[in-house]
Symmetry: C2
Subunit: 355 residues, 2 copies
């Protein structure tokens, strides 16, 4: 555990700004504001809602410019959604790709309120030849020497079938600046990069989008030469609340011997969780955890529990999920250039002491 | 800027849990929930308010046990308070002390609502011989092999004169779990370690408290042999909003040439800010910044502005504050064992490009 790694000051600067969800918050079905993971690529725009508008342009019959008041008048839906950063687990890869150095905390579940994207597009009217929809945020930065806005696209299939929301509230409150005030995209089941924050423009296009965050970043590949595969849905993952209590600052954990009720949550962007298994001996043997039946939302994590008998010594606890499509978690990280989609099983070491 | 440092995986785990305030949030006088810095020593307790109570014990005439409802009925005050972690700036020290590796973002300003501590102590009645008041949180951890609760004390002088609050709301909302729900201490002007979260017990004592967080941690000293000096009030500090836009992931900044309106905020726990100075040439020359007169609260940061002409090339921008007591900021970090109270001036490098 006293493993040392070279880290850049720049990675530290990212880690100080961005934050994961402390795993004890897995106790809560909905993550409070401020505990939900947060990744900001550039600077957080501080937006004056009175001056803000959303433009809908491109291949639409009736181009639109809507104020926040206009959008708040549209039919609203609420969705409880588990969101994970595509870079979650990056810092467990070796060599560690240079970006936000997440361990496994880049997750959260929130109640998002907004208007279905499809309603807005119906109102604007898709024109023939429409293939993708590009979403532009107000956040601007520099990539490879060029200034650009954060932009991502979705294919028309995902737009039409994916329960995609234009969200203006989180957990019943207006979006705070860091979550995209006044309006953000919300793509349930997908890694967070798809859910463009500080939305300012929606453009319907007749061709695939080739912007930086789509064609270069957020692709699984082994070298710069490959195009790689675009990241979309979240791979399955189970996480546990680390049992016992930590020390400071190393966060090494101590647990009294005896019965221990382990619990955590599991999710997948590909379908419902089929099973969660727990190992209390470092992966030597696995036992099924009990899954809570009612998860409340098709897009939210489900709770699992598992009782084990903690015996004095060091225990290494693991958990892993498998979803209804048969996708599961590898025991070790699968490396790629950007450090994406590492859903290797969580390992929690605890020192069990006689109580 | 490509400086590399050895970092422990444990430091990364801390940095992923805890977070600073992204400095663009210096634009806002009050920091939104989720952007205020947060340091949690152990795990965040998830508290059931119905089962929670506050005990007042020790050298008091009438020992008390109060429910949250009891406390919400007491007279309430609101205070806008700038809070900084005592470890802010730690990661700029060399060698870097092992703890949460803050750069300079461990700050925030919030509107806290609660009942003055002094009212509660009057109600309980201080007995003769009272010297200190010990505050116990529900958060538990291990230090030097011993399980303990997070505990800190205040001397009676600070308790009587310091506007100390028992806060149950932040920015008009109930405390979220991470800020100490349902009740926390708030010691205006002091580093954050004094403001005990998840408060469960207040004990009036006849002697100085010698618990871990008082007698061992949070002391400025050069070696384990020294007792050192206890940390109390925040040293002065000015911070600027880094101008221009960043790249990702290195966050190197680009600014168009021409007039640039720099702005930021400054504070000190020892008194009002007397002046802020800005250097646009790496510290070679300094110019006074304009201070906003009305800061609204004696305990909140004040805003400063400074116009400078950005010329093509690399500019290194610095800012520094001096308070009314004459305390100011050093140009370089002053090392100590715990990595505390490093208020060395902020340096922001920007590449100025022809616009």
């Amino acid at each position: 555990m006293a493993q040392r790694q070279d880290i850049r000051l720049e990675e530290l600067a990212l880690a100080a700004r961005n934050h994961g969800m402390p795993l004890e918050a897995l106790r809560l079905p909905v993550t409070p504001i401020g505990l939900h993971y947060l990744l900001t690529h550039y600077d957080i725009p501080i937006v004056d809602a009175d001056k803000w508008s959303l433009e809908i342009a491109g291949l639409v019959e009736r181009p639109q410019r809507l104020s926040l008041a206009d959008i708040l008048e549209l039919p609203a839906e609420e969705l409880t959604v588990t969101m994970e950063c595509a870079g979650n687990g990056r810092a467990r890869m070796a060599p560690r790709p240079f970006s936000q150095p997440w361990l496994e905390e880049a997750i959260g579940t929130a109640r998002w309120t907004g208007t279905p994207l499809i309603r807005l597009l119906e109102r604007a009217g898709l024109r023939k030849g429409a293939v993708e929809v590009v979403f532009t945020g107000l956040d601007r930065g520099v990539e490879h020497g060029r200034e650009l806005a954060y932009e991502r696209s979705l294919g028309l299939d995902q737009v039409l079938e994916g329960d995609v929301l234009l969200a203006w509230a989180i957990n019943g409150q207006p979006l705070p600046p860091q979550h995209g005030f006044p309006l953000r995209l919300l793509v349930p089941g997908w890694y967070g990069m798809a859910s463009v924050k500080w939305l300012t423009k929606i453009t319907v296009t007749d061709r695939p989008f080739v912007g930086h965050q789509q064609a270069y970043a957020y692709r699984v590949r082994l070298s710069e030469d490959e195009d790689g595969e675009a990241l979309t849905r979240m791979l399955p993952r189970a996480l546990m609340i680390p049992p016992g209590i930590p020390d400071f600052p190393a966060r090494a954990r101590t647990l009294p011997a005896g019965p221990c009720a382990l619990e955590g949550r599991a999710w997948s962007g590909f379908g419902p969780i089929g099973r969660v298994e727990v190992s209390a001996d470092g992966g030597g043997s696995w036992e099924p955890a009990e899954l809570e039946a009612d998860v409340g939302s098709a897009y939210a994590w489900c709770r699992w529990r598992h009782a084990f008998e903690a015996e004095p010594g060091v225990a290494v606890l693991l958990c892993r999920a498998e979803d209804a499509t048969g996708r599961s978690q590898p025991l070790e990280p699968v490396w790629n250039l950007g450090g994406y989609a590492n859903n290797a099983v969580q390992r929690v070491a605890v020192t069990v002491v006689r109580s």
